[in-house]
């Protein structure tokens, strides 16, 4: 019997962990093109979720709301790139770290003022009655998270490998000057990566909200774990974030089951501290340590 419980916890947690993986993937997208990330990514997830909720409450059908929400996220990604990142990168400064944090705070207070401080339910047509698969109960809602995350990551990875534009993105990330000499605009590539990152953040919000509810504070819970995933997996392995994300999600749900829900946040933090202690020179760690 306990093994069934464990399996149940692991499966539910791992599906949830894919959301962390998706947000971490958003970090990877912008890091590849510009060596910068949006530290307000969690707030972007939250604001996009609120906008999507508003659309839903105004009668926009679920399946039409998803692309609209992602479009909003992409637009916000462009806004962040333009206002918080571009100037700092042009001056070769690390001002983008502070700027993106500040933009995140703006999003946070904006959301509090527009939508209030309460957590709100996010309606979805996907049923949450568990179905029985291989001895484990999984809800279609949980499955939709997994399917959504893997589908969008698969789509973007295919785009990067199959299209000339995707190869151009890789060229910019390996050698910006050489890419410019090929007629590839580094600035446009960075804009594209921020738009993609924003769209991905929005989708993460749309997928997770029906399970966790939407509220201004949802950002902080998600972002810490996404950071842990990104630090542990490194900032260039899409496959890595999926694995680490699922692992973190699973340990988290086991911890909260066996140790109590107060311990839910512990595995993410422990993982983060371990990664920084064992691999302090990780690409990501360097950027943070230099500034703080």
């Amino acid at each position: 019997m306990p093994s069934v419980v464990v399996a149940q916890m692991v499966v539910s947690g791992a599906l949830m962990g894919l959301v962390y993986a998706l947000i971490a993937y958003g970090f990877q997208l912008t890091f590849a093109s510009s060596r910068s990330i949006n530290f307000g990514q969690g707030e972007l997830v939250m604001v996009s979720a609120f906008v999507s909720l508003t659309l839903t409450l105004h009668g926009v059908p679920y399946w039409a709301m998803i692309p609209c929400g992602m479009l909003f996220g992409a637009l916000m990604g462009l806004v962040i790139e333009r206002t918080g990142v571009r100037l700092a990168l042009e001056q070769k400064s690390e001002g983008w770290i502070l700027m993106t944090i500040i933009l995140g705070l703006f999003f946070f207070s904006g959301a509090e003022n527009l939508w209030g401080r309460d957590d709100r339910p996010f309606p979805t047509p996907i049923p949450s009655d568990p179905i029985h698969i291989l001895g484990v109960d999984v809800t279609p809602l949980e499955l939709s998270v997994g399917v959504g995350v893997l589908a969008i990551m698969g789509l973007i990875e295919t785009f990067k490998r199959r299209t000339l534009l995707g190869k151009a993105l890789e060229a910019v990330s390996t050698d910006r000057d050489a890419a410019e000499l090929m007629g590839i605009s580094a600035r446009k590539s960075i804009m594209l990566s921020y738009a993609l990152s924003g769209a991905v953040a929005a989708l993460a919000g749309i997928l997770v909200s029906p399970i966790t509810t939407v509220g201004p504070t949802m950002a902080s819970a998600l972002i810490l774990k996404a950071f842990s995933v990104a630090v542990v997996a490194g900032l260039d392995s899409g496959f890595g974030v999926v694995l680490v994300g699922m692992f973190l999600g699973a340990t988290e749900s086991l911890a909260s089951f066996y140790l109590g829900s107060g311990w839910r946040e512990a595995p993410g933090l422990i993982l983060l501290i371990l990664a920084l202690a064992v691999r302090p020179t990780g690409i990501f760690g360097k950027a943070v340590i230099r500034k703080v």
């Binding site: 199959r162 299209t163 000339l164 534009l165 190869k167 151009a168 890789e170 060229a171 390996t174 050698d175 000057d177 050489a178 890419a179 410019e180 000499l181 090929m182 007629g183 590839i184 605009s185 580094a186 600035r187």
Partner: protein
């Protein structure tokens, strides 16, 4: 084709170029020679837009291009094969070449079909690249990487090609091969601006040459004329 007037450029507060003038005519092969640190590479970088000139003009077919982003200048028909080759090591040889033609190919799908003829031209010129088209660029030898850098620049179908130190770090035999390639490019009518440390070899292939010293052009002329000038002989041809 390319005119550079009173070009000043540098990195941060230190100015490297103090007023460079030069001219490359249609179909010409012009060589830029000089010692290390004379400003040859910076001249090319300022022409192609990798370095923003602080003063002066760069005219490509009469059009002012100084201060434009390098990607814009590239799309106007200037291909720059930079110092150190700078191929994309994690992309395949063929992808490297396709990116060379980025400005004139569809960016999503169907780009391969549109590039077949140009690819074939490069593979004819460098059969070894054809054999290794699926290999990662980083696995090629230094000489092959130089071929790839030149092939990548050719893919753009450029009006003018800037070639920076194609012989750098290569074995003598390979250097001969590189110069044979440059001769072939010249014979096919491509306009070339070549930066070389091996002044002798450069003067053998060039129509016209400029000698740079400390950020300025100190001598110019046809190779025959330059070979007669004593200070050029002393400094670079010995």
């Amino acid at each position: 084709m390319l005119t550079v007037q009173d070009l000043h450029a540098g990195y941060g507060a230190s100015e490297v170029l103090h007023g460079v003038d030069l001219e490359v005519g249609q179909g010409q092969l012009v060589a830029l020679i000089g010692a290390n640190g004379a400003g040859k590479t910076t001249t090319l970088r300022a022409v192609s837009g990798l370095v923003r000139p602080s003063r002066g003009k760069v005219l490509l077919e009469g059009r002012e291009v100084q201060g434009l982003e390098a990607s814009r200048v590239a799309r106007l028909g200037l291909a720059h094969a930079p110092e150190g080759r700078r191929i994309f090591p994690t992309l395949s040889v063929e992808d490297n070449l396709l990116l060379g033609a980025y400005g004139r190919l569809p960016i999503l799908l169907g780009y391969k079909g549109r590039a077949v003829a140009s690819l074939q031209r490069v593979y004819d010129l460098f059969p070894r690249l054809g054999e290794r088209r699926r290999q990662d660029g980083g696995t090629l030898s230094g000489g092959e990487q130089q071929m790839l850098a030149i092939g990548r620049a050719l893919m753009a179908d450029p009006k003018i090609m800037l070639l920076d130190e194609p012989s750098m770090g290569l074995a003598p035999v390979i250097i001969q091969e590189v110069f044979a390639t440059i001769r072939r490019l010249k014979a096919s009518g491509i306009t070339l601006l070549l930066v070389e440390q091996f002044a002798k070899s450069a003067l053998e292939v060039a129509d016209h040459a400029y000698v740079m010293e400390r950020g300025r052009v100190v001598a110019q002329g046809s190779p025959e004329e330059l070979k007669k000038q004593e200070r050029v002989i002393e400094a670079y041809l010995g």
